[in-house]
Point group: D2
Chain length 343, copies 4
Amino acid sequence: MAKIGIVGGTGYTGVELLRLLAAHEQAQVVAITSRAESGRRVDELFPNLRGHYDLAFSEPEVDKLAACDVVFFATPHNVAMNLVPELLAAGTRVIDLSADYRLRDAALWSRWYGEPHASPEFLDEAVYGLPEVNRAAIAGARLVACPGCYPTSVQLGLIPLLARKLVDPAHLIASAASGVSGAGRQAKIDNLLSEASDSFKAYGVNGHRHLPEIEQGLADVAGEAVRVTFVPHLLPMIRGIHATLYAQLTADAGDLQALYENWYADEPFVDVLPAGMFPQTRTVRGANRCQLAVTVPQGRDTVVVMSVIDNLVKGASGQAVQNMNIMLGLPETMGLQQVGLLP
Amino acid sequence: MAKIGIVGGTGYTGVELLRLLAAHEQAQVVAITSRAESGRRVDELFPNLRGHYDLAFSEPEVDKLAACDVVFFATPHNVAMNLVPELLAAGTRVIDLSADYRLRDAALWSRWYGEPHASPEFLDEAVYGLPEVNRAAIAGARLVACPGCYPTSVQLGLIPLLARKLVDPAHLIASAASGVSGAGRQAKIDNLLSEASDSFKAYGVNGHRHLPEIEQGLADVAGEAVRVTFVPHLLPMIRGIHATLYAQLTADAGDLQALYENWYADEPFVDVLPAGMFPQTRTVRGANRCQLAVTVPQGRDTVVVMSVIDNLVKGASGQAVQNMNIMLGLPETMGLQQVGLLP
Amino acid sequence: MAKIGIVGGTGYTGVELLRLLAAHEQAQVVAITSRAESGRRVDELFPNLRGHYDLAFSEPEVDKLAACDVVFFATPHNVAMNLVPELLAAGTRVIDLSADYRLRDAALWSRWYGEPHASPEFLDEAVYGLPEVNRAAIAGARLVACPGCYPTSVQLGLIPLLARKLVDPAHLIASAASGVSGAGRQAKIDNLLSEASDSFKAYGVNGHRHLPEIEQGLADVAGEAVRVTFVPHLLPMIRGIHATLYAQLTADAGDLQALYENWYADEPFVDVLPAGMFPQTRTVRGANRCQLAVTVPQGRDTVVVMSVIDNLVKGASGQAVQNMNIMLGLPETMGLQQVGLLP
Amino acid sequence: MAKIGIVGGTGYTGVELLRLLAAHEQAQVVAITSRAESGRRVDELFPNLRGHYDLAFSEPEVDKLAACDVVFFATPHNVAMNLVPELLAAGTRVIDLSADYRLRDAALWSRWYGEPHASPEFLDEAVYGLPEVNRAAIAGARLVACPGCYPTSVQLGLIPLLARKLVDPAHLIASAASGVSGAGRQAKIDNLLSEASDSFKAYGVNGHRHLPEIEQGLADVAGEAVRVTFVPHLLPMIRGIHATLYAQLTADAGDLQALYENWYADEPFVDVLPAGMFPQTRTVRGANRCQLAVTVPQGRDTVVVMSVIDNLVKGASGQAVQNMNIMLGLPETMGLQQVGLLP
C-alpha cells in the first residue's frame, strides 16, 4: 500500500484525487495540506467524501510529505517548483499537476508565467506525464509533470496525424472549449454562475499558457516545429473539454479511421469511436478516458478531429493517478475503471 | 424628462436599472456611481449596453446626486442609510433597493444586520415600496424602501389569504427558491458555476434577513402578528424566484381562484393564472410581473400558493422603476411593458 | 456470480443499473431487453459504457429472463405487473423499479394509475424495498417493489419524527424538487433543455402519483393515517432530489439532531449531517446516499427536515442494487461505494 | 399600421416574433396559424404573452393570410414553398424564416433537403434577407428569405476579409456553437435537458444544411468560390450562437480592427467590439445584434474572428422584423431596440 501525500487539497483537482484514490486498492492518502484550511476536516469542505476519509487538512511540512511514497501537487503554478527539490532529495517521488515542470525551456516558461523558474535544473529530468507518449520514461521517473487539460485533449487528437506527417504542421487549429471547473475553485466574478451560465465566449485568444505546452508536445511527435492557433472557450457547464481540431491534409490521408483505431488500439484510456459517431463530453464525465473521432467533411482537404475528456480526470487527477500506477509498477488501470456518469 | 442618479451601478440591480431605463421615455440616467470602477465606461463593464448609454461610472458625490430628481440606491445594505439624509435635505427623492429602510423597527434592523442603524430617524418616513399595498403613500414619498425579492413574491402570494383571515397566521410556510443572481455580482466561491450549477440546496434556514421584512409586511395586512417558516433555496440558474406557500385553512375558503383574480384585477403587474395553470419562472424572465396560482390539493385543508417573479425586475429594479413612475405621477407601466424572454 | 437480467434497458434507470453493476463483483448482467432497440449494442446507445459491456439489447423473452437469478424491471409502470407472475413461477426473483407493486391496495393503485392492476394477487407478497424500514423482509422476498424517488427522500426524512410521534401527522408538508432525469428518457416538449432549463416550476400539485406511496409508507411508521401536502417541482438540472419537509411539533422535540443521528447510526446509506450543515444535491451525485439535516428555525414549533438523494441512485437503481445485495445475502454495500461526483 | 400574419406560430421563432412585434408601433399581428393548436389562445401556450395579445391560433387559410400586408413563415422547411405562390399572387409580401428560398440553385436545394423544390420559379426572385448585404433589394422585395442563424453569424464575421481578398477562400473554417433553441420546439430525445445539458458535442460535421447557404453568401461577397469547413456544436444553454472563424491571411492584413469598425460603422445591428474585448453570447441575449471581434493570435498568419448573435433574434425573428421594417419603409430599428438581458 503506497503512502500518498497531496499538496493543495482544497481545489477541484485535489478533491478529485481524493475521489479517485478512495477506490484505489494500493494507495492510501496519509496527508493532505492546505494553509488556509489547516485543521479542518476534509469531508467538512467536501461532504461527498463523508464516510470515505477520516482526514483533516494540515500545514504543508516537508518532513511529513517526504515520508510519503508519492506526493501529488494539486496547486496553482509556482508552488511545486519551490518544494519539489527538497522532496526529491528526500527520495520522494512527485507528480505535479501544475504547470511548473511542463515546459523544458526555462526561458519559455518565464515568458508565459511572468517570473523566473525557481528550480530550472529539474526541467530536464521532469517527465511529461502523457502515458500515451512517455509510458516508459514515466515508469522510472522521480518527477512527472502532468499535462494540462487542454494539452491532453489536443495532443491525443493530433498525434497520429503529425506522427504520420499527413498534415501541414504550420497551420493547425485547436478550437477547444472547457467547463468552468477548469478555472479552479477560486472566487472570481467571471466564473460566477450568473456570469458564466447560459453563455459562451472565447478567452485567451491572443495567448493562453497551454499554447507553448501544446506546441512543445506536438513538435516532439512531428519531429519538426508546429504552429497551433489555439482558441479556448468557456462552456456553461462544470466538467468536460471538447477540442475540435482542424488541419490541412498534405498527402493522401488514406483510411484515417483505421489509422486512429490502430494507433490507440492498446491504450486503455483512449477510445476511438466508430466511424460516424461523434464524442460528447458527458459520456466521459467522471471517467479517465479520451474519446476521439476523425473525419474529412465533404471529402475535401481539411481533416477534423474531435477529442473529449473530463478536464478533472483524464485532464488532471485521473491522469495523475494513471502516472502513479505506472511509476509504482501497478496495473495502469487500477482505480480508474469508473464508468462515465450519464445522464 | 426626470434626471436620474444611480448609486452603486456595478451590481446586477444596477445594470438592470440601466436596461429598463434605456427604454423609459421620461427618465434619463445622468449619473451612475462606483468607487471601484470610477472613470470606466458603463458599456465596457456591461457590453449589452453598448449603443444605449454614453456614460461612465463616477465617484459618489452628494452634490452631483442631489442635482437629480430621483436617486436609486442599487447598493448592498449599509450604504444608503449614510447618504440618504443629505440627499433628502437637498430635496432629492430616493428609492432605496437595499434593506436599509425596509424595517420600521431600528432595533429589529440592528439585530438582523448586526450593526446600529445610521439614520433611524427616517425609518418612519420611509414608505415600503410595494405598490400593490402602498400605492398612495408611495406617490407622495420622499424616501421609498424597495422590498426585497423574496418578500415581494411571498407577500403578493399570501396577502389575499391573510387580509380575508382565511388561514392560520401563526403557521405560514414559505418554501422559496431563487436564481443565483439574487446573491449579487460578488466573487464568492459558493456562487461559482462549478459550485451552484447542477445542484440545489436550502440556505439561511435558521434565519434569513428577509424573514422580519416578510413578517412585518404580512402582519400589516393581517392586522395581527404572523409567523412564517421561511426556507430559501438556491436554484442552479440566473434569474427568477419561485415561492411555494403553504397555509392551514381556518375557515371555508370559498372560491379562492375568484378571490385572487378579483384581488389583483386592477393590478398591472400581478397576473393570476387561470385555474389549473401553474407559474414558471421563465415566463416572467426579464418582465416586471408576478404570476400567481392558488389551489387546495386533494380538497384538504392546506392551501398552496405559487408565486413567481424575476428577482431582478419585479423583485428589484423593475419594482423600483414602478415606484419611480408612481412618485413622478407618470403612468405606472411606463417603460415596464417588456414581454418575458421565452424560451 | 449472480446472473442478472434487466427489462427495459434504454431509460435512465437502465443505464444507471448498468453503470453500477459494471463495478459489482458478484453480479453479471447477462440480458438486457428493449423492443425498440433490439439488436443494437448497449454501448452504441450509451457510449459511456464502451469497454465495460459486450452486450446488445434483446427482445424481452420470459425464458431467457427466467434463467437469471434476479431480474430488474427498469420500465414505466404497467410492464412489470404483466410479466412478473411468470418470472416468479419460474423461480426468478424480481426487483421492480416501477410503480406496479408499490401500493398494497389494488383499488388505490387503479385510482392513481387509471387502469386495473394486472396481477393484484402479488401486491401483498411484494416487499416495499426501502431497506431502512424493511431490511429483513427484503432478504427473503421473491418480489421487491423499489420505492419511488420522491418517496425515498420524503420517507427517510420524516420517519424518525413520525415513529417518535413528535409531529402532527395530519399536516405534513413535502416541498420537493427533482432534476429532469426523474421524468425519464422520453421525448416530451416540457423536458427539452429549452423549456426546462433556466426555470423552475411546481407540477402535479393537485395530485402526483407518489403521494399515495408516501402516505402509505409514512402511515406504516406512524401507526396511524397521515396526510401529506406533497408539491413536486422541476429543477433545471439533470440529477438530484431535494425534499424540504415541514411538520408541526406536537411535543417537546428534545434533541432532534441526536434523534436523527442515532436513528440512522447503523445505516450505510443514510448520512445525517452535523448540526448547522445543510445538504446539497451535488454532494450525492452518482452516490447511493441520502444526506439529511434537521432544524427548528427560530426555535418555534415548525420542524424543517432537508433530505437529498440522487434520484437515479438511492432514488432508483442504487437502491435496487442495495435490495439485490440484501436478497442475495451479499454485503449490503457491495458495488455501491461510489463517491459523489463533486464538482 | 401594417397587418401581420404568422404561419406556424407554435415554435420558438413564432413566439419570438410575437415578443418583438408586441412592442412594434407600426405592426399588428392579426393572424397566427397552427393546425395542431387551432383554437387555443396564444397566451395559454406562451404565458409570457399574457396581457400582450388577445389572439388564438387558427387554421392556416390563404384567404385570411392574403389579407395581411406581410406574412411571416415561422415554419420548418417545406411549408412556405407550397403556400408562397398563392400569397404572392394575392399581393401579400412574404418573409420566410425557413430555408425554402435561401438557395438560388434548386438542384442544390434538393440535394441538401432530400426532395424536389415545390416552387423553384421563385428562387430567383427571392431576396436573401441579410440587410447588411442586400438592403436595397430587400426594400423592394415581394419575397424575402431570411438567413439561417449560423449563416448570419458566419457571414457577418467573414465578409470584410473576403470582400477585401485578405484570406484564402478555399480553406475557411467556421467552428460554431448554438444553444438548443436552434433545434426548435420539437420533442426529440437528443434535446432533452437530461441529454443536452452539462455536455458539449459537435454534430452535422460531415454536412449541415447551413453549409451551402454559407458558401453561396460568401462566394457572392468574395466574387469567387469559397470552401468552408463548417462544424456546428450544441451548447448546453437556450439561446445564442458563437462562431469562431479561422482563415489564412494571404496578404498583409493591415489594421483589421479598423477594417471591421469601418465596414460596419453605419450598421445599426452589427457592433464591432473595441480591440482586446471578445464577445459573449449573453451580451446579445434577446437583442437584435451581432457583436464581433477580430484578432491575429501571436502575430502569425491565421486570423480569428468571433461573432455572436442571439439565434432567435438577429439569427431569426429579429432579423425578420428588420427585413419587414425595410420592406415597409419604416425606420430599420423600429421595435428592435431591446437591450440584451444581462445577467
